[in-house]
Structures are given as C-alpha cells and as structure tokens.
Amino acid sequence: MIPAAFDYIRPASLEEACRVLAEADAAGDDVKVLAGGQSLLPLLRLRLAYPAALVDLGRLPEPRGVEDRGDHVFVGALTTHDEVLRSGVVREQVPLLALATATVADPAVRHRGTFGGSMVHADPAGDLPAVALALDCVFVVRSSEGEREIPASEFFVDYLESALGPGEVLLGVRVPKLGPGWGFHYEKFHRTAQAWAIVGVAAAVRRDGGTIGEARIALTNMGPTPVRARATEAALRGLSPAPVGGAGDGARDQVRDACGQADSGTSPPADLHAKPDYRRHLARVLTYRAVRAATG
C-alpha cells in the first residue's frame, strides 16, 4: 500500500495548473490531477496507477463553492461532498444532487472528496455521474486555450474516462433547476453503507396534471458509463402514476411495466457483488421504486 515514486506539483493558481498540464502533455508525461484524493490515492497505493507526477489542486481557493445562477446552480469542481450537502441552494434548487451526495461513501470521505473529482474520475459506480446525466448538466472545463462546455451526455466516455482533454481541468458543473412539478429520487442499492452502488437509479419526474409529463432516469453501474434508461423514459410519458383498473388484483400497474424496460440498452458488469442478470433485475425494480418515490 505504498505508491511508486512520483513528482508532486502544487500550482498556485488555476492558470498555472493549466500551464503545467499543457507542458506535461507536450512532453508526453503522464500526469494526474489530485483534488480530494479519495479515488486517486487508493489507485496509487495499490499500484494500479503509476503517474509521473501529481498536480495537486486541492488547496486552490477556486473553483469552489455553490452558486445560484438563476436558471441553474453552479457547483465548483473543488467543492467537497460535505459542502454540497450543507448547501441550502443545493437542497432547495437541485435536490437530486443532495439526495445522491448523501449516499456517497462515509462522512470522512465526504469531507475530503470533491464534487468535481467524482465527476472527472468517471467511475460508473460513482453516484454523481448518473445525477449529472439525468439532469442534463453542463460541464465547464478550462485549459490554457480557454474555456469550453461539454454536455453530460458527452462527458462520460468510457470506464474511468471522461471527455476532459489533456491540459484541461474541470471548473465546475451547471446543474439545471428543473422548476415546479418535478420530483426527485436517488435509489441506491449497496451491501454496506460505505460500499459502492451495485446499481443506482437517479430519477427526475415531472407530473403534468394526473400523468407523467417527463421522466429522466439515469443508471449507476449498469455499464462502462452511467446510462439513461431511454426506453423507460419514453414509456412513462403520459402514464398515470396510479394503477389502472382500480384497486385489487385486476389493477394493472403501468408504471411497473414501463420500468421493466429500464435495463434495455445497458451492459452491466459482472463482479463479486453481482452478476449481470441480477443487475438487470435490480435496475428494473429500483427504477420502479425511484419513479414511485419521485412521483409520490
């Protein structure tokens, strides 16, 4: 559990960080950005990663904090999970983020780990990427060339791989406020409180009178990246959340039927905690529960 040797660089500003990363890229050096270190350091200690250098952004004053910007909430990349959880703006304006963040690891990790770090790490078993995907967040990134925006649908490229280019750092994420009528839920299924999700479901559902107007559902750990349950989203549109045909055995739960497609288009992994068929089953059951909770 001792990392291999690496160089350590602590830039004094974001500009310097971008410059250092650009230089490293030009020189062909493998560098990693360190923020809270809750994902990267274990990889180093297990010698699963051998970067030539770490560029530590952890002590930079910005981008950090939560800001209400009218139609969206901007969450700075270096904001810790704990700060996200304590933010009244997050709880009131983008509650799905609060719900999911509360399930991240344990209090010690949440005090060290950063919002941006979790996103850039792009672990499909992480809770926050699915939230970003469900809410159609926008990622704002900077390099020495300037800033650019990446929609969540393009940000998570592959297992542990984001769309961040070499020399780029994440500034923060625009989390859209979805407005009135929306309900939210994050349903996480894991074996112990600190364990990663076997499957997680981030659901945002808008009620339109007596029916479901729109549903956005993203799945955690159902493939190499977080994935939207598009078939279920489409099937839910226009459905009544209540069972059809009254109470009792004759009733048909259309929402459950719609959620039965939640795993379509996914490619869930096999690991010690679950085989793919079980994950598919969980995705269906948990999506139903998430949608029920979000509409309830």
């Binding site: 040797a5 200690r45 409180a193």
Partner: protein, 863 residues
C-alpha cells in the same frame, strides 16, 4: 496537540468521574468501570509495534507469490540490490539453511501429515501471497520500490481450490504426500441404533465460508539485537508461546530471546500464530546486526493473515416424531490451506465436542478430514471451531422444527438440558457444570416480543407481502476457558492450558500485578484491577497491571479462547490470596497475636474482637523495611500463582433475530436483535457489554457480508476492504442485550468467559431468520454470506410462494431435502435413556490409535 486528544487528560477525567481516587469499598467486582487503558488506546498515544523507532532501523518488505501454486525456477535479486537505499535482498534459497519450518503445535493424530513450512518459499509456492523474497532498505518506501526490481520465474502448477475435488482421485497435489492431512474420529453412544428406524432424519450440508479476521491493527514486527540477545516486538496475542516457538524454530536460545507484545489492536485469533514475518525478522536482524521493522498493508494482510472457518459440514439428525433428537452424525471437511500452522488442525476439534449444543442426545458420531488446498492456511478465528459447530446444530434443529411443524423454540425446549440436570455429562464427554437455558430463553422471548412478531410474520405471509419477516432462534453454549492441561494433553496439543500471575505489594502500598494473559483490546488492566481491589482491599486506582513482555511477565499462556478471565483472572485472585496469607503472618507478628486470630476485611488485618490492626499498606511498608519480620519470613509481600482449571466453562444464551427480507431485491435488514447471555458472574458489565456487541457484529459479518473469494486459479479476489465487506455500526441494528447469571462452579470467581459468545450465537440466529422468512417459498437454506444476490437467486429459483401461513408451517415437499419417514414401531424403552458417565467417551480418549481414530473409552473427559 489539542486538549481532547491528550490521553493523560482523558484518563484524568475518567478517573474523576469514575471516582478512582475514592476508597473502593468491598465491591469493585461487578462495577461498570470504564476501562483504565482506553484513554491511551483510543488516542493512539501508546506503543503500537509500528510506532517503535530504534536507532539505525531498517525496513523489510516482502515480494509475494502472484500464483497459488508454482515451482520457483529462478529468483534474481541483483537489480533490486542495486536500488538506492537497499541494504540487502534475500530469496528463500538465501535463507534456506537457517529459516527452519514454521511450527504446528497440534498434531491431532499420530499419522497426521505436517508438511515442511519454510517461512520463505524456496522451491515451490503453495498459495498466492506466500513470501518469495525480502528487501531490507533504509526506509519503507525504498523497500517497496525495490520489490519491483526482483525477477522471479515461476513454472505454474495446478491450483487446488476446492476441498471435495482435492480429495478426488487424480487431483493435483498440494504436497507429494497427498491432499489429506488427517482424519480424526470421535464417537459416543450407539449411533447406528439412533438412526435405525428413526422416525425423522434431517440431513443437511452447510458451507462455512472462508473468513479474513481483519483486526483493526495490521500485523507489525520489530526485531533487534545487541549482538548477544534478541528482542522481538510483535503485534501478537501470544508473546509467551511465541518466545518458546521462535526459540525452537530459529535456534536462538530461549534465555537470549525476549518477546514483547506492546499494545495490540485486536486479533480475534489472527495473532495467535507464529508467522513467517516474525521468524524472518529475527533472521534478518541476526544477519545484519541492525533493528528491522515490517508492517503489513491491509491488502497484504488479507492475503497472508491466516484465514478462518472454511469447512464443509454434513450433519444428520435422527429424531422422534415429538422432536426429541436421538443422534447426531457429523462428517466434516476442514480446509487447512497449504500448510498446518500453529493450531490449524485443532480448530475443527474445538468444535467436535459442541455439535450436541445444549441438547440431550443418545449418540454422536464425528469425523473430520483436514484437507490441503493451495490457499492461505486457516487457523483460529473468534470462536475457533465452536461457531461452526453451533451454526450446524442450530440450523439443523430449525430444520427439524420445520419438518415437524413445530415452533423452533419448542423443539429446543423438548431437547435441552434442564437447569435441575446440572452438572450434566454430555454425549461428547464434557461435563457442563451449570446453566439455565429456560431462564435465558424466557427472558429473551419477552424482550423480543416473540408472539407479536410471529403474528406479524403470519400476516405478511397471508398478504404475500414482498417484504417477508423471519425470526431466527439460536440457543448456544460453548466450551471456554481453554483449558485443563490434561485435556489438552489428551488431544495431543503441544502445551498446557494453565495461567500464571504475580501480585506484588510495593513499599508505598500500591500493587503491581503481572499477568500471563496478553490483552489486545479486552480490558484486562481494568478487570484485573477490580479483582485485586476486592481481594486486597486496595483502591482500584492503586493497581497497575503489567503484561505482554516476557522480560516482565516471564510465564504465561496468553490470550485466546475466552480464557483470560476464567484462567488468568483466577490466577490473579489466587496470587492475592497468597499475599494475604503472608500479610496475615506479618500482621500477627506485629500485633503480637496468633495468626488464627487475625481477621481480614476491607484492606485491614485486625485482631479478632479488637480495633487493633494494620492496613495492608502499612504491612507492605513494614515488610519493605524488614526490621521486624517473624522468623523464617522473607522480606517481600509478593506471590506467584499458577492456575490450571479442572474443567472448561460453559457460557450459554439465547439470541433472537428478526429479519425483513425484500424478496424483490434479495436485500435483508435486521429489524431487531435480542441477546440474553449467561456468562456467569460478571466482573465488569461494561466490558461484557462491549464483548457481546462486538461479537454479535462479527457473527453477523459472517452471516451477511464476509467471504474470502478465490478464483479457479486460487487467486484471492477479496484483497481490499471494498471487496471483503465487513459491517460497520451503520450496517447494524441496535442490539438489545441482557443477562442471566448462573455462576460457573469450576472457579472461585464464578466466571465463564465472554470473548466469543456473541460471534458463536449470532451467525445461526441471522441465517435461521432469513430461512424462516423464505419458508413460504420452499427455501431451506441460503449459503453464507447471505448476500442480496444469493437470496434473490434462491427466491427466483424457488418460484412463487405457497399461499398463506398454513403452507409455510407444513413440510415443503420435494424441495425439502429432508427425509420424513413414517414413525417406527415402538420397541420398548431404551433409546431415550441417557448413557451414564461410565459409557460416555471423553476427549481424554481421543487421538488414540495409530490409525488416528479415537475409540470409545470408559474414561470420562473433562470434569
């Protein structure tokens, strides 16, 4: 450092609030004292092995085999030697002539195969993680880096992962001598008669999965020499045993070797071992003449701390229609792993005498085969053999209850030893000295709200609620207080089971206690102080307890098997009595009275009928001055005592667990948990409570979370705590705990031991609850750990539930796996009669003949 982290301040605050300065009165024993050692332990301001820094210290790191089974064809250490900061690099070949073989102290049969076990592999590796080379460097980082420069060529050999396959013809061999280490048999009563025409026979196979002990403090070793003698610091439970064993292994004379267990952060049996790293540390310091340190990482620990459990249990019960059990037959495969370590083969034997549980049965038959596989060796883990036995019998009794449509509590009631029947000689040759299963069970049922929960269960079954409720019962006993030396001898164990203590009155009236037990989290300093405070009438705060250093505590058998209080605490009490006897003589002399007229009370020796007396503190000072001692009395108010118990102790209790099982996802949640334990008289209720809580948590860990998983190549897949899950407080319910107190009759304190009880009881309670919840689905077992995926698969395969609670009560047909036969015609009295002691075989008879088979003997065992 901030105030709240100051151990001294915390200790002061505890002392103040616990009124440690106050005179203790006569009743320290029984008080819920907060532990005097905790301030330094929880602040970390103490000496853990890894804290030790010695001048010129070097650091060791081990290169470990990435393969489960391979021939080593080449080890090239030259590049590693050239790395900066590297002082030495050794392969197994380099140390082959001096490293000896790691010891096995428990040859359970005469024909047991004990393979050579080099601390560092020389020619062949037999488990993934076995050390193949060692780097010694100026810091631990350089040592770790240099490991990557060592080149090793392996010629892969077939892994042997599964015990049943290992015993099959044509299996690849772990050792040339074959994969069978031993077969050990034990029997009592007429087992054939018990099964012949038995109205009900239950046959089950249970898998005791392999566990990783996971103590809070990883292992660490510091070895040093002054050129003549050697000192080994180790995070060990057994400094005394270790000293003897290391002297025998390394050839360092025993009197030139000091072993120190500084404060140690938990062990659970995993530090009851003589490890490769301890031996190699001594060899390296002997070669280099410098102190060396090794501290394992958690992942290294998961690979190479000895593992626990790993048994395949076939258990059969023959019973009457009314639920009374006639006989129990057990056929066990126990995975030894690649080698036999300190007590590896003995672990299943510790369970062999427990498969009768708390029940009266006529006949018993036990066979255990130890099997070699290419995996880390197994050895003691909290409970060591007894949790396995308790699990099997408690699961099987639940199956019997289900088969007969009886309440599981009622079946137990019909079979258990009643409180009037103690002392009771069991079919396994043990004498249970005391107990009251009825009282513990009544209390537990009341605290649990048993009837109400059963009603809710029935309602959920009727409603076909996707979340079903299950109720698990576990009524356990265990043999604790290891152990009467002559019993250990009869079982071929390499040592005795006594314990030693010294009590010394210091000139100022303070007391030093030296104990041969070696606490690693148990709170001996507090409990021993309470015992001494009462025995000598001194304040609790005036007692210091010294332990864990063979230069200070020269004699002991250390800490494991719930033995410390039952054996070691009793030795402390016995030493106090000797001190008092001597003080009485001196008091009589000073008071010019006959010793027979001296009375002792609350720390004072007085002449009967007068107010004239001397306190023990005054006598301590007078003895120190030695100006006026009676003729023939040596100056010194000290005494040694060594206690060897006549019998084991037998804690028991009733644990009840309610589990909600979500049949849609397979998730289960413990809704309530009630534990009523009878650990005899209690010295410190807080310590007992802590042990019970931790024990239950650890047993739940086996039931729900923990499993060391290997792939088909024998690679351990659970090398991190992300893969090997242990529960934390967040994953556990509140425990409702209570006690009944039936004093042990086998020791003057009336104590029974509590270290393992919770772990032994809780695993079957939880699994019984899960199976109970799933009875309507025709489910009769869920393999441990009962993960959500396993539960979901079992439910999915079982199909839709039978409707209503009525169906759940009845035997569930073909899938039951139990053979229910028509009642046999009665053939007169006899089968239910309890055999007398004269026909009861005992452990004393066990390893018997050269075939390794124990035969029945007319000698009773532990009494």
């Amino acid at each position: 450092m901030s105030e709240q982290l100051d151990a001294g301040l915390i200790a002061e605050q505890i002392a103040e609030s616990d009124q440690l300065g106050e005179p203790s009165g006569a009743h320290e024993v029984g008080r819920a004292r907060r532990r005097k050692e905790d301030a330094r332990l929880v602040t970390g301001r103490t000496t853990w092995t890894d804290n030790i820094q010695l001048p010129g210290m070097l650091y060791m790191a081990f290169l470990r085999s990435p393969m489960a089974h391979a021939r080593i064809t080449r080890v090239d250490t030259s590049a590693a030697r050239a790395r900066p900061g590297v002082v030495a690099v050794y392969s197994g070949r380099d140390l082959a002539d001096e490293q000896g073989s790691l010891p096995c102290a428990w040859p359970v049969t005469e024909d047991i195969v004990i393979p050579d076990h080099p601390p560092m592999a020389v020619e062949e590796v037999r488990y993934a993680g076995e050390a193949v080379a060692c780097v010694v460097a100026t810091d631990r980082y350089k040592a770790a880096d240099a490991l990557e420069a060592i080149e090793v060529d392996y010629e892969p050999l077939d892994a042997v992962v599964d015990m049943t396959e290992a015993l099959a013809e044509g299996s690849p061999l772990v050792h040339e001598s074959g994969n069978r280490a031993f077969t050990w048999k034990f029997a009592g009563g007429d087992i054939d008669a018990a099964f012949r025409d038995a109205p009900v026979v239950i046959e089950r196979t249970y898998v005791q999965q392999r566990l990783i002990p996971t103590a809070m403090e990883p292992r660490a070793v510091v070895a040093t020499t002054d050129g003549d003698g050697f000192t080994l610091y180790s995070a060990t439970q057994i400094p005394h045993v270790l000293r003897v064993m290391l002297a025998l292994t390394t050839g360092i004379p025993e009197h030139k070797l000091r072993v120190v267990a500084p404060d140690v952060g938990g062990g659970f049996g995993s530090k009851l071992q003589v490890t490769a790293e301890e031996v190699l540390g001594l060899l390296v310091t002997r070669r280099l003449g410098k102190p060396v340190k090794w501290t394992e990482s958690r992942s290294e620990g998961n690979l190479t701390v000895h593992h626990g459990r790993d048994q395949l249990q076939r258990i059969s019960l023959a019973a009457e229609r009314d639920g009374r059990v006639r006989g129990v037959r057990v056929d066990l495969l126990a995975d030894m792993g690649a080698y036999l370590m300190l007590v590896t083969p003995g672990i299943p034997l510790l369970g062999a005498f427990m498969y009768n549980g708390i029940y009266k049965i006529d006949a018993y038959d036990f066979t255990c085969t130890g099997v070699f596989t290419t995996k880390m060796p197994t050895d003691a883990y909290r409970g060591a053999g007894r949790p396995e036995a308790t699990f099997a019998i408690e699961r099987a009794v639940d199956e019997l209850a289900h088969e007969l449509g009886l309440d599981p509590v009622e079946v137990r009631r019909r079979n258990w030893i009643t409180h009037q029947e103690f002392p009771y000689d069991t079919i396994c040759g043990l004498t249970y000295d005391s107990g009251n299963y009825e009282a513990a069970t009544e209390k537990a049922l009341a605290l649990f709200g048993y009837d109400k929960l059963r009603a809710e269960q029935s309602d959920r079954r009727d409603r076909r609620d996707p979340v079903q409720l299950g109720i698990g019962v576990s009524t356990y006993t265990e043999m604790c207080g290891l152990a009467p030396s002559r019993v250990l001898g009869s079982l071929s164990y390499g040592a005795g089971g006594w314990e030693h203590a010294s009590v010394r009155m210091l000139p100022t009236g303070k007391v030093e206690v030296v104990t041969g037990t070696s606490p690693h989290g148990q709170g001996h300093e507090t409990a021993w102080s309470q015992i001494v405070a009462d025995a000598l009438g001194v304040p609790f705060g005036d007692v210091a307890v010294l332990h864990g250093d063979t230069a200070i505590s020269h004699k002991g058998m250390d800490t494991y098997g719930s033995r410390s209080l039952v054996v070691g605490g009793v030795a402390v009490l016995a030493a106090c009595e000797k001190v008092k006897d001597k003080a009485r003589l001196i008091a009589a002399h000073m008071l010019e009275a006959s010793a027979d007229d001296i009375e002792f009370s609350a720390g004072s020796f007085t002449v009967r009928g007068t107010a004239e007396g001397r306190t023990i503190q005054e006598l301590a000072l007078a003895t120190f001055a030695a100006h006026d001692l009676p003729d023939g009395v040596e100056p010194g108010l000290d005494a040694d005592a060594t206690f060897d118990p006549d019998n084991f102790s037998f804690p028991h209790g009733t644990h009840l667990c309610a589990v909600e099982v979500d049949t849609e996802t397979g998730a289960c949640a413990i809704r309530s948990y009630v534990a009523v334990d009878d650990v005899g008289s209690v010295v410190n209720p807080l310590i007992v409570e802590g042990q019970v809580h931790g024990g239950i948590a650890q047993g739940i860990g086996q039931a729900l979370f923990e499993e060391a998983v290997h792939d088909t190549e024998g690679n351990l897949l659970t090398t991190t705590m992300a893969d090997y899950l242990i529960p934390t407080a967040a994953d556990l319910p509140d425990f409702t705990t209570d006690r009944t107190e039936t004093p042990a009759t086998s020791n003057p304190l009336g104590v029974k031991g509590v270290g393992e009880a919770g772990t032994i009881a809780s695993t079957p309670a939880v699994v019984n609850a899960i199976v109970d919840a799933l009875r309507p689905y025709g489910v009769h077992d869920v393999r441990m750990p009962c993960t959500p995926e396993r539960i979901w698969r079992v439910v999915s395969e079982a199909g839709p539930p039978a409707s209503g609670s009525a169906a759940a009560e009845a035997p569930a047909g073909a899938s039951a796996g139990a053979s229910a036969e028509a009642p046999a015609p009665t053939s007169g009295p006899g089968p239910m009669s309890t055999p007398g002691p004269a026909s009861t075989p005992g452990p004393a008879s066990t390893p018997g003949s050269g075939s390794g088979e124990a035969t029945s003997s007319s000698e009773g065992g532990a009494r």
